[in-house]
């Protein structure tokens, strides 16, 4: 039995708050985007909810970036390019084949690195590429009346709208995959429990 303290309190708070905001934003965003479809929130309800949740998500994202700068949590997001391809292949091979055949996990969680290479790349992509795009396009939407008519000869609002929509779909996909992959720890609840308690515990029993 091993136990590593991987998730400090601020990080867990940010994580679960972001999870809640993601759900609120998806529900309210879908209600705005597909307004008029039965079973969704009314457009009038959805708009202020989406706007407020978007602002809260922005503040949370800023807190996350600052937290990573001033604590050592940021080291988990530094990609080690050396041997990246080999680790990627091993990880993909494990998820695609090994996991069904009782193969050992090619990556061992340590205090120095808590993410396997696929996790790390997807988290870096989500947090440092998609989230800034989502936030920028969201704020551009909020103050759309200050946008120029055109940007690079194309309607500025259209660029903002399509960016926000594409990134929203991409992050919904991220959420879906994240929720599933997180169950591929030693037991399905190993990783979710770690994000609740802060402690990553493994018994060393055979993997499933």
């Amino acid at each position: 039995m091993s136990a590593i303290y991987l998730y400090p309190r601020w990080l867990r708070l940010w994580h679960w708050l972001s999870a809640l905001l993601f759900l609120v934003l998806i529900v309210s965003g879908v209600s705005m985007h597909y307004a008029g479809t039965p079973g969704l929130l009314s457009f009038k309800q959805a708009v202020p909810i989406h706007n407020a949740a978007g602002i809260a998500l922005t503040l949370g994202w800023i807190a996350f970036v600052v937290g990573n700068l001033i604590t050592d949590n940021g080291r988990h997001y530094r990609v080690q390019w050396h041997g990246l391809a080999g680790r990627l292949i091993a990880q993909i091979r494990y998820y695609g084949y090994g996991i069904f055949h009782g193969a050992p996990h090619p990556f061992a969680v340590t205090a120095a690195m808590k993410f396997n290479v696929l996790q790390q790349l997807s988290y870096v992509g989500a947090m440092y590429l998609l989230m800034p795009l989502l936030i920028l396009s969201g704020w551009a939407f909020l103050f759309a009346f200050y946008l120029p008519e055109t940007l690079f000869g194309i309607g500025a609002l259209w660029i903002v709208a399509m960016t926000h929509l594409t990134v929203a779909y991409a992050l919904t996909l991220f959420l879906l995959v994240h929720v599933y992959v997180i169950t591929t720890g030693e037991t399905p609840l190993t990783n979710p429990r770690a994000m609740l308690t802060g402690w990553h515990r493994e018994t060393g029993a055979p993997l499933h």
């Binding site: 996991i99 759309a144 008519e149 926000h164 779909y169």
Partner: protein, 324 residues
């Protein structure tokens, strides 16, 4: 509006307001004369005019049309209007200085461009463009007798007109703008009227957008301002295409939000403005291609993950079965 009558009607009624008629009215209505305080705020040179015209009941019946013509000017509204600092005789003929008003004064025909043709300061409003737009308007070209003598003042009350103040709620801007149209076109809001029945979410449109958003050309040529056009279209040429507004293009947003400004933002604060803004128009983010691709990828991924989960479960069962 206090002065809904068009130019020629004004001319007619002023012709009728002869010295005799006016004297009789003054005798009759003297008891309801405006309180001195009502006109006290007016510029000194206007007080003489407002001594009579600030009387709420000042009116006469037009001999030709039989309609009651209102001659009342609300001093408060006038003072708050864009013309509030002008003396009456800066617009109206100087002969109006005299009472009884001489016949020579009553032939005047006032319109906006008469005064605004040479704007010295840069302005959002190009009156030359407005004149050109109005010349193509149904109001200027209809054969309907009701549009005879139609002019700027038929819609815009020069004694009360003011630019929508910064921070005025969009709903109030829409309501006030539409009230002008509904003064004459009230029948379109008749609950049993078939007009606008085709429009989805009809009531939501009526409270969220101005009549002129659909009843003027969507495309405004580049030499004109982004203000809504003064070319009012006949019903059959009006905008019936939903995606002209419900799309990622900007014309509706630019037109509706022409009233917004940085001061508005500074007053309400960034967050309040962000949470309660009304910039998103349904359909603005719709893209059949991205929606189709996004939903397909998410759906296929969900299926793939479900299959992966079943595979893991079976592998787990198998390995348990092998254990002693």
């Amino acid at each position: 509006m206090n002065d809904p009558s068009p130019g020629p009607r004004r001319r007619r009624r002023l012709a009728v307001v002869s010295s005799f008629g006016m004297a009789v009215l003054l005798q009759t209505l003297g008891a309801t004369a405006a309180a001195p305080s009502a006109t006290a705020a007016a510029p000194l040179q206007d007080r003489a005019c407002l001594r009579c015209h600030a009387m709420a009941t000042l009116a006469y019946r037009d001999d030709t049309t039989g309609r009651l013509v209102d001659l009342f000017i609300d001093p408060g509204r006038l003072a708050a209007s864009v013309h509030g600092k002008l003396a009456c005789v800066e617009c109206h003929a100087a002969d109006y200085r005299y009472y009884p008003h001489p016949q020579t004064a009553t032939g005047e025909r006032l319109d906006c461009v008469g005064c605004h043709q040479e704007e010295r300061a840069p302005t959002d409003y190009s009156f030359q463009a407005i004149t050109a737009q109005y010349a193509k308007s149904i109001h200027a070209n209809s054969d309907d007798s009701q549009t005879q003598g139609f002019g700027c003042h038929s819609c815009h009350d020069p004694h009360g007109f003011r630019v929508s103040p910064v921070g005025k709620p969009l709903g109030a801007i829409v309501r006030d703008a539409n009230r002008v149209c509904l003064t004459c076109h009230a029948q379109v809001r008749d609950p049993v009227s078939d007009l606008h029945r085709w429009l989805p979410n009809r009531d939501a449109h009526w409270t969220a957008v101005r009549c002129v958003e659909c009843h003027t050309p969507m495309a405004v040529s580049t030499d004109e301002t982004h203000r809504v056009s003064h070319q009012i279209l006949p019903a059959k040429e009006s905008n019936l295409t939903c995606v002209n507004c419900h799309s990622g293009s900007q014309p509706l947003l630019s037109r509706l939000y022409a009233y917004r400004s940085k001061e508005d933002l500074a007053r309400d604060g960034l967050f309040a403005k962000a949470v309660f803004n009304e910039a998103y128009v349904v359909g603005m983010s719709r893209s059949p291609l991205i929606d189709g691709l996004g939903l397909a990828v998410i759906g296929l991924t969900a299926l793939g993950l479900a299959a992966h989960g079943v595979g893991r479960y079976r592998a787990c069962q198998r390995s348990r079965g092998k254990q002693p």
